[in-house]
């Protein structure tokens, strides 16, 4: 302001000639300045326009200023679970409600139980129901993309990992809802007299080891991670993770209704994760969370226990499907008292960034409890890993006061930070030489590795391979930590490691499952297990083909095709003392069951994949595909697709894609940081001010000229 008034005052004092010259000069200068300014400003606008174009059709959660934008699609889920006997059958309905004024495609990456067999997809648009079909993965995707482009309603569900799936829903009309109904079944876990069912609702963001593949063009692919050499599909399994406050208040909630028909009287139904409302109705129990719709930021776990003394020790279920007999059997070996051998225990604890928050506290207390179980004749070591691996002792040391005290201090000081480079840690844990003890025979020492982690990695398959190759005579046990551990990793790592797995839900729950695990770890109660099916004409194919050793409280579960419910099943094994253990089961008692055939098919697919891994070859893709299509199952090579008949989206209307975020698991710290807003309006204001002044000066000069 001072500047402009100064100019005005200055002008009249000049003589006419001076003034004219000054005016010409000022005119010239301002003209040039204006031209320069145009040159300066123009490229900026051009640049801005170009950027807008590049990202058309792609919706972002974060706007240019780094502020969070809610996705336009609101997600609502509904679980309806029926447990009968050993199999839980679930119907999961996901509703995608489009709140925007445009047509939308919704993409959602979500977890399912790691042992789920998905066998049905239906899409509901208004009153209409479209039943989905199983197709080979690539073909299904093509069908979907074609329907999407032609403006028809379509839904596609793909398997990324055994416990991770992607749902796509195309052409959701503005303001309307499309529901996608998934049907899946899973075997119920039974251990130490207690059944458990786990419903994952979100996933812990996973670490992707390896080098980034070819630098991408900055185009967002729907996931925050970039494909790496170790995890080529990283972008497909890394949905944006947000806090519950970042989504619409009605979004990302699930209602759960569960009916348990265990076939025997139940003593109690509890959940370590949520408060339950249970209603007893004869032998069936209705269960639902007390809070109604629960936030999808932690697993929902339900456990039920039969009345004392009525725990099942054997069960047979039979299903006849497409001219074939299928049997599902369960036998619980008695709890023989194992001779306890001195052990060498290596604890491996994950201190990567995904464990930050509640998880690392749980892991520390789990580890402390593990140290409690050590006896003076045992040896132990602790290894922590994130990007780097660090062992407390050079080699396993006797579990005596001094060493234990040092270990406890070490554990208390553990902090979670950095990446999850599991491979070196596994290598160190599995490769530590056993003969550190000198004269005493190392053969008598049982070597065990306890792996405490959330399993948030993208390269599971490579790790299983490593476990298999380096295991030797050792055993690997896994303890899952956090609100949403990767149970697929826990279960498979323990299976390849000939051990057991467990998962801890929250700090108060550290005791129960962990106690069971550490007790069972002392020694397997049954080794060298053999299963003999009654001699029959047909070909009998049972899974698991070679049952592993059984631990305390662990049942032997077999599923078989081709055996009619007659004759006697013989199971034998070796008890810790060396005596033979034998048991026979009358198959005629078989109860009618559902889903046995599907369970068998899933086991068969898994075993085909296992064989390929053992032989180091590519899995027999066509065989898996054939099997999956025949049984109507989702698999790594088959997915579901449902397409409506008539196009609904006008050909001109654009369609944006919403990648729905998943919620950050409860108690974990956000690992992702948004870039802050780091520019001020200063240059803009200065430029505007200068331009304005320049115009003012020009007008002023013009006025003078006219008045002269």
């Amino acid at each position: 302001m001072m500047l402009s008034t100064g100019l005005l005052k200055l002008a009249p004092r000049l003589t006419d000639g001076q003034f004219r010259r000054a005016r010409r000069w000022a005119e010239g200068v301002s003209l040039w300045l204006a031209v320069l300014l145009m040159l300066f400003v123009h490229p900026l606008y051009a640049e801005a326009n170009q950027m807008e174009l590049e990202n058309a059709g792609l919706l972002h959660f974060v706007d240019a200023g780094g502020r969070w934008q809610e996705p336009a699609i609101i997600l609502d889920s509904e679980f309806e679970i029926r447990v009968s006997g050993l199999i839980a059958d679930s119907q999961l309905t996901r509703r995608f409600r489009n709140t925007s004024g445009e047509w939308r495609e919704g993409v959602f990456v979500f977890p399912l139980p790691e042992n789920a067999s998905v066998y049905g997809l239906t899409m509901k648009v208004g009153e209409r129901t479209i039943v989905g079909k199983v197709q080979p993965k690539a073909e299904a995707r093509k069908t979907y993309e074609k329907a999407k482009a032609s403006g028809r309603h379509a839904a596609n569900v793909e398997q990324q990992r055994p416990n991770l799936f992607t749902a796509r829903v195309a052409n959701i009309p503005p303001g309307e809802t499309i529901a996608v109904e998934l049907r899946y079944q899973q075997p119920v876990d039974y251990r130490a007299g207690e059944f458990e069912l786990r419903l994952p609702t979100t996933l812990t963001p996973r670490y992707m080891p390896g080098q980034h593949l070819a630098e991408q063009s900055g185009q967002w692919q729907g996931g925050w991670a970039v494909p790496t050499t170790e995890v080529p599909d990283a972008d497909a399994i890394s949905p944006y993770t947000v806090r519950a406050s970042d989504v619409d208040a009605g979004s990302h909630r699930a209602s759960v209704r569960m009916t348990i028909d265990a076939g025997l009287p139940l003593a109690r139904v509890i959940s370590p994760t949520h408060r339950l409302e249970t209603r007893l109705d004869g032998q069936t129990v209705q269960v639902q969370p007390e809070q109604g719709r629960l936030l999808m930021n932690r697993d929902f776990v339900v456990r039920w226990r039969p009345l004392a003394g009525q725990e099942p020790t054997a069960a047979v279920f039979h299903q006849r499907w497409q001219e074939e007999d299928y049997l599902l059997t369960m036998i619980v070996p008695g709890s023989g008292n194992a001779r306890v051998l001195p052990r060498e225990l290596v604890f491996v604890i994950d201190t990567s960034g995904s464990m930050a928050g509640e998880s690392i506290r749980q892991a520390r207390s789990a580890l402390q409890r593990g140290l409690d179980t050590l006896k003076p004749e045992d040896r132990f070591n602790i290894i922590q890993f994130n990007n780097q691996t660090h062992a407390l002792f050079m080699q396993p040391v006797p579990a005596i006061g001094n060493n234990l005290a040092r270990a406890r201090r070490y554990v208390d000081a553990l902090n979670a930070d950095g990446g999850t480079e599991m491979a070196p840690a596994l290598e160190l844990a599995l490769a530590t030489p056993t003969d550190g003890g000198g004269a005493e025979d190392p053969a008598e020492r049982v070597r065990q590795v306890v792996f405490i982690t959330d399993g948030a990695v993208g390269n599971e398959a490579a790790l299983f391979n490593q476990i298999r190759q380096q295991l030797g005579r050792q055993r690997l046990f896994t303890v899952g930590i956090g609100s949403a551990p990767n149970l697929h990793f826990m279960r498979e790592a323990a299976r390849w490691g000939r051990g057991l797995y467990t998962a801890i839900q929250d700090p108060s729950d550290v005791g129960g499952p962990l106690e069971t695990l550490f007790n069972a770890m002392e020694a397997p109660v049954l080794t060298d297990v053999r299963v003999e099916w009654p001699a029959q004409t047909g070909q009998v194919e049972s899974f698991p083909a070679r049952p592993g050793d059984l631990f305390q409280g662990e049942p032997l579960i077999q599923v078989v095709q081709g055996s009619a419910p007659e004759g006697v099943l013989k199971v034998s094994g070796k008890l810790p003392g060396g005596q033979k253990w034998e048991r026979s089961l009358d198959l005629q008692q078989a109860a009618e069951g559902t889903g046995v055939a599907r369970h068998w098919a899933r086991q068969k697919i898994d075993s085909l994949l296992d064989t390929a891994r053992l032989e180091g070859t590519q899995p027999d893709k066509s065989r898996v595909t054939r099997l999956a299509v025949e049984h109507g199952l989702m698999s790594p090579y088959t997915s579901f697709v449902a397409v409506d008949d008539t196009p609904v989206r006008p050909s001109g209307a654009p369609q944006g894609t919403d990648h729905l975020p998943t919620l950050l698991p409860a108690g974990s710290k956000a690992g992702m940081l948004r870039y802050p807003q780091t520019a001020t309006v200063a240059p803009l204001l200065t430029a505007l001010g200068l331009t304005g002044l320049m115009f003012a000066a020009a007008i002023g000069l013009l006025q003078r000229r006219q008045s002269v």
Binding site: S4, D63, G218, W224, D417, L673, V681, A682, A696
Partner: protein, 200 residues
């Protein structure tokens, strides 16, 4: 006509003053922060530079090459960025990765001149200096990328500012990121901790 002229002139001048006020504030505040930094080093506590401030100095960042030195404030929110670069990530005990953001128009306008190998020095409240070397600079789209703090190594320092440097758009999505690592210069002196007099 002359009324319109006056209106245009005064409003433009006001805009200009506001525009110049932001960098002026940034420069003046740094002087005040020097005092607060000296005090917080002397007392070893968080010291607010003025009673109503919602941020406090946490470190001093110097760039010997550009002959720049500034006080880093806590937090990456607008309030602290107006007065100095803000520490978005970094633990109190000085361990772990650090992320510092600054306005491209004020404190971090010189960031564009940093090259691979450039030296950065960071002083914490104890007076210890830590030397970082620039590993790389890159441009990211903040709409599609976030900082994965778990992937940052313990000894890394990230400087973040807006990009392009001469843009007028205050809400642009691009960010300029300078990645630096502590003690990667080859001579062993980098990790050496030099005690200094508070406030120097």
């Amino acid at each position: 006509m002359s009324r319109f002229f006056l209106l245009l002139a005064t409003s433009s001048a006001t805009l200009l003053v506001f525009g110049l006020w932001i960098p002026l504030k940034a420069v003046v505040a740094q002087e005040l922060l020097e005092l607060a930094w000296a005090e917080s080093q002397a007392r070893q506590t968080d010291t607010r530079p003025w009673p109503w401030a919602d941020t406090w100095p946490v470190a001093r960042l110097t760039v010997p090459e550009l002959d720049q030195s500034m006080i880093v404030l806590a937090g990456g929110h607008g309030e602290s960025l107006a007065f100095g670069p803000g520490q978005v990530l970094g633990s109190d005990d000085g361990r772990g990765p650090k992320v510092i953001a600054g306005h491209r128009d004020t404190h971090f306008d010189q960031l564009q001149y940093l090259k691979t190998g450039s030296e950065l020095r960071l002083q914490d409240r104890d007076g210890d200096w830590r030397t970082y070397r620039v590993l790389a600079t890159r441009i990211v789209d903040s709409r599609s990328e976030q900082i994965d703090t778990r992937l940052l190594s313990e000894d890394s320092l990230l400087l973040v500012t807006c990009y392009p440097f001469d843009s007028m758009d205050a809400g642009g999505p691009l960010r300029y990121v300078v990645e630096a690592r502590a003690g990667r210069s080859g001579n062993g002196n980098d990790m050496e901790q030099i005690g200094t007099v508070a406030g120097t």
